[in-house]
């Protein structure tokens, strides 16, 4: 049984690709055969985040057009067993991404025994984003605690409830869960940032995880290793929790409160 998951947000720059990379890597680390597909045709970036940019030979559109077969298009991750990457093409012709073509690729991945297919959606609500979401069984909505991101996430939730194949077939809404990224508990406590509860109240969906604002995310993209592999970092741990919850485990949410400096810390300025 293959589960297709779209990672989406509406707004750009909130952490879709970081999340897609972390989620796919986390699932593969737990032994689930997983492929992560970059749907951002024209603006390929997942390859950089996954650190396989120099190994790209063929891409999603090549596979759709039959220039390469699926096995040639897939890049096998060198760190984690059972993890594959299908990069986006750099073509500017967005019409290259057809629903029929994407369906064929997804069917091929199913036949290869993939357990999870993570679709990294482009920003916006145009064709690319709709194509990434169309075949999804489940959605992860990546949101920053900031007004424009929350509004766009709500917009995307509306689109998910009507524009997926399941919705069109009358099979109902696909389950969608919230991943709140770039969260800063210190700023929330000072009343300068929307809290987890605020965002949950407005979007009214289940919370998959909260990823704290962290230097580790930039370090990870600098080095081309998904942040979940940095298992000592706060963001890495938060993503690992999110993957566990995604698989049905119950885990308490961490990193929601600011680190209080104790008396000792205040006296000596320790972190």
């Amino acid at each position: 049984m293959t589960k297709i998951v779209v990672v989406t947000s509406g707004k750009g720059g909130v952490g879709k690709t970081t999340t897609s990379a972390a989620l796919a890597t986390g699932l593969a680390q737990r032994g689930h055969k997983t492929t992560v597909i970059d749907f951002d045709v024209g603006l390929r970036n997942l390859d950089l985040i996954m650190g396989c940019e120099r190994r790209v030979v063929y891409d999603l559109v090549n596979v759709i057009n039959g220039d390469a077969n699926l096995k040639q298009g897939l890049i096998k991750d060198k760190r984690v067993e059972d993890l594959f990457i299908l990069p986006a093409s750099q073509t500017r012709d967005k019409d290259a991404l057809t629903l029929e073509g994407v369906e064929k690729v997804l069917e091929g991945l199913k036949d290869m025994g993939m357990e999870y297919i993570i679709c990294d959606s482009p920003a916006g609500i145009e064709k690319g984003a709709l194509t990434a979401a169309y075949f999804a069984d489940e959605a992860v909505v990546v949101t920053n605690p900031e007004v424009s991101s929350v509004r766009d996430s709500d917009r995307i939730l509306g689109i998910l409830s009507s524009k997926t194949r399941k919705a069109e077939r009358g099979e109902g809404d696909i389950p969608a869960s919230l991943l709140l990224t770039r969260y800063s508990p210190e700023r929330v406590e000072r009343g300068e940032m929307l809290s987890v509860e605020d965002v949950k109240d407005i979007l009214a969906i289940d919370l998959l995880g909260v990823i704290p604002e962290s230097q580790a995310v930039l370090n990870a993209s600098n080095s081309g290793a998904p942040v979940i592999l940095d298992s000592e970092s706060d963001a890495g741990k938060a993503y690992e929790d999110a993957v566990a919850r995604f698989l049905g485990e119950q885990r308490p949410h961490r990193f929601l409160t600011a680190n209080k400096k104790g008396l000792f810390g205040r006296l000596f300025g320790a972190q």
């Binding site: 007004v147 300068e192 929307l194 407005i202």
Partner: protein, 83 residues
């Protein structure tokens, strides 16, 4: 920080302003969501039919879909100009 700062009214925190604004705009956008895709075209074509007989403005036609106890109501308002 002086003792007086506790007595003065506190300035509203920006996060609560953000939440309030979001709740309002999201509620408004949800209300117009979920209508059939053909609504804009229906509006356009109705306008053309009406214009065969009366000259009306682009915004003289207002279409809305309401849901009430399980049935959908297509509400159509056409404002005719004063003679």
């Amino acid at each position: 920080m002086s003792i007086f700062s506790y007595l003065l009214p506190k300035k509203e925190k920006s996060a609560s302003v953000a939440k309030e604004r979001l709740q309002i705009i999201v509620a408004r956008e949800r209300a117009t969501r979920g209508g059939p895709d053909y609504l804009p075209q229906l509006q356009e074509e109705l306008l053309m039919v009406v214009r065969k007989y009366v000259e009306v403005d682009q915004d003289a036609i207002n279409i809305q879909v309401d849901r009430e106890s399980g049935c959908e109501i297509l509400e159509l308002n056409i404002t005719l100009p004063d003679e």
